[in-house]
């Protein structure tokens, strides 16, 4: 559904934001694009949604070539922008109706989407009176308005409270289940782990790892266990330690409270791959 080949983007002939990324996303897949600030995530989304041309490289999104006919592409995709600004002098409903008209969608769909993002009670209030999370929900509904084949979500849950974030992830999952391909960027590793079938980790414009979250965690596992003793101390043992059996036996004799396997989180993988924590 998305094929990307050797995509690069250099801003003003100086800043190399994307340095040759290639990947494919299958229909109905939720693909996560993870990376620290300035890694090139938003740049990639803007290229794939036809807002700017790549410096080199090609892509196809839902069959539409990039670079190519933007109007063809724009009938097939929905985009939730990072920090989406909305027309503040409109109500939520007016905004969706306006964009719905441009997409030639029936008014009924607007009501359904308002219901879906749980904004029906506030639909007739001016957007300037909305909280950040309410605006984000309207922006999300707008991204769904074209009933897209490919949905781009640039940090969809930033600014949402935990309950709203959970609700939004549910909707993303439902949308994907109905066949929409989802390309999502996030800083939230738990979200990526929970939602994505596959993730790519991008750092300084280069993809440094790409696989399913489980496989990534697996490959970074150093296979350790933590053994907690009665006196409250912790002993860490590696599973491929040749003296493992003896050490275990010794510890058990001293009174063990709990044995845990230590699995790396996606966050650990991320930090190791990018050489830095989340900023």
């Amino acid at each position: 559904m998305i094929q990307v080949q050797d995509l690069t983007k250099t801003y003003n002939g100086k800043v190399q934001a994307v340095k040759g990324v290639s990947f494919e996303v299958a229909p109905g897949e939720i693909f996560g694009f993870l990376g620290p600030n300035g890694a090139g995530k938003t740049t990639t989304v803007r290229i794939l949604s036809g807002l700017m041309d790549p410096t080199s490289g090609t892509a196809t999104v839902a069959g539409a070539p990039i670079p190519g006919d933007r109007q063809q592409l724009h009938r097939l995709i929905g985009v939730l922008f990072e920090n989406s600004y909305l027309y503040e002098t409109m109500t939520g409903k007016e905004l969706l109706q306006f964009f719905g008209d441009l997409y030639r969608q029936p008014r009924k769909l607007v009501d359904e989407l308002l219901e879906l993002v749980e904004m029906t009670p506030k639909a007739n209030e001016l957007i300037k009176k909305y909280s950040k999370g309410m605006k984000q929900r309207i922006a999300f509904a707008r991204a769904l308005l074209p009933q897209p084949r490919v949905l781009f979500l640039d940090e969809p849950t930033s600014g949402l409270d935990p309950a709203s974030a959970v609700r939004l992830r549910e909707v993303v999952r439902e949308t994907a289940a109905q066949g929409t391909t989802v390309f999502l960027t996030t800083h939230n590793m738990d979200e990526a782990d929970d939602l994505c079938n596959r993730v790519a980790i991008i750092n300084e414009g280069v993809i440094v790892a790409m696989d399913s979250p489980t496989a990534l965690k697996e490959s970074f596992s150093d296979r350790t266990i933590a053994i907690m003793m009665q006196d409250g101390t912790n002993n860490i043992l590696t599973l491929n330690d040749p003296d493992l059996n003896q050490k275990m036996a010794a510890l058990i004799g001293q009174g063990v409270v709990k044995i845990n396997t230590v699995e790396p989180s996606l966050e650990d993988v991320f930090i190791r791959m990018t050489g830095r924590g989340l900023q």
Partner: protein, 351 residues
């Protein structure tokens, strides 16, 4: 770049619906309306002005020369000029002069001989005081000249020319028309800055649809402002079709120029600055056209002057259509150039 009129309409209609919620915009339109009303009230009081009087006919005679020497507050009241009668009457009709006096050959000699003379005079009755002063000054001079009590029979032809508020009205209309010149660059540039433009650009609407939609909004706004000014000042008179042709062409000019600035200048502050300069540049001529010398002459070639003068003549005079052709062609040319510039700027954006 394809143009979809349906998208243009959707964008235009959405902007129109929102404009009632924009306080800045209401102020922009309310300003010329309020100014026009205030001027209208202030000008209710009749005033005496030392307006020019044109003398035709025996203009080398002693009587004419004596008249020329009369001054009010250091300014000559009567001016002897070489001008055809029809031209002089047209100037009178437009309020550029206060009276036209025709002194037949032999008048000076007749007066000096103590004979009664007949003089035709056309005066502007929209300032009656000035008219009375001109007539009595004329009689007084004739008395001095001839020494008899009733030396002169005046055939007065009253002409109603436009008064000051009528003369000013087109300038308020042009201010309203030009409001879209400053508004459009600001809206387009701020959509770009706030990134609301991105959301529009990923819909099936093209950038051309968006820009034409915004320009159409500018035309609607300019025309609405002009309409309000004309209604509240009671100026729905004269050749309205011609006046509205001017207003619509002015609105198109302001909107396309505004759209061009909005597309070409990406930064919001820079776009506002450029549009303010363009606004002043297009407008200043209509305020300074009456000044003597080079400034007055140059002023008469600015678009603001052409539109204001065209609207004024259409509403209050019976000037023949041929008088409007140059102005209309001139504004049409600016519209064509700004449309062309907008399209070039749009093409450069796409690349």
């Amino acid at each position: 770049m394809r143009l979809s009129w349906r998208n243009v309409w959707i964008i235009l209609w959405s902007d129109i619906k929102q404009s009632f919620r924009s306080k800045g915009l209401i102020f922009f339109l309310a300003l010329p309306v309020a100014l026009s009303l205030i001027m209208n009230l202030v000008n209710r009081q009749p005033s005496i002005s030392s307006a020019d009087v044109v003398i035709l006919g025996e203009n080398q005679g002693q009587f004419a020369q004596a008249l020329e020497e009369i001054e009010i507050k250091g300014v000559s009241l009567f001016k002897v000029v070489e001008m055809s009668e029809s031209e002089a009457m047209q100037q009178l009709e437009r309020g550029k002069i206060s009276a036209v006096i025709k002194i037949p050959e032999g008048t000076s000699a007749a007066l000096l001989a103590g004979e009664q003379v007949q003089i035709d005079i056309a005066t502007d009755e929209s300032s009656p005081n000035t008219s009375v002063i001109i007539q009595s000054t004329l009689r007084e001079m004739a008395r001095n000249f001839s020494g008899i009590v009733e030396p002169m029979q005046l055939n007065v032809k009253p002409v109603r020319s436009i008064n000051t508020s009528q003369a000013m009205l087109p300038t308020w209309v042009v201010m309203a028309i030009m409001s879209s010149l400053t508004l459009l660059p600001a809206t387009i540039a701020s959509e770009r800055q706030l990134k609301t433009l991105d959301a529009l650009l990923i819909t099936p609407a093209s950038f051309l649809d968006i820009v034409i939609g915004k320009a159409a909004y500018g035309v609607a706004l300019s025309s609405f402002g002009s309409l309000v000014i004309m209604i509240v000042n009671g100026s729905m008179v004269g050749n309205l079709a011609l006046a509205w042709l001017y207003i619509l062409m002015g609105a198109l000019m302001a909107s396309f120029l505004g759209a061009f600035i909005g597309v070409a200048v990406k930064d919001l502050q820079a776009a506002s600055a450029v549009s303010t300069v363009a606004y002043i540049f297009l407008l200043w001529g209509m305020w300074f056209a009456e000044l003597p010398g080079v400034i007055g002459t140059i002023s008469k070639y600015t678009p603001g002057y052409f539109i204001a003068d065209g609207v004024r003549n259409a509403l209050y005079t019976t000037a023949p259509f041929s008088e409007y052709i140059i102005g209309l062609l001139y504004i049409g040319a600016i519209i064509a150039v700004s449309l062309l510039l907008s399209i070039i700027a749009l093409k450069r954006q796409e690349a």
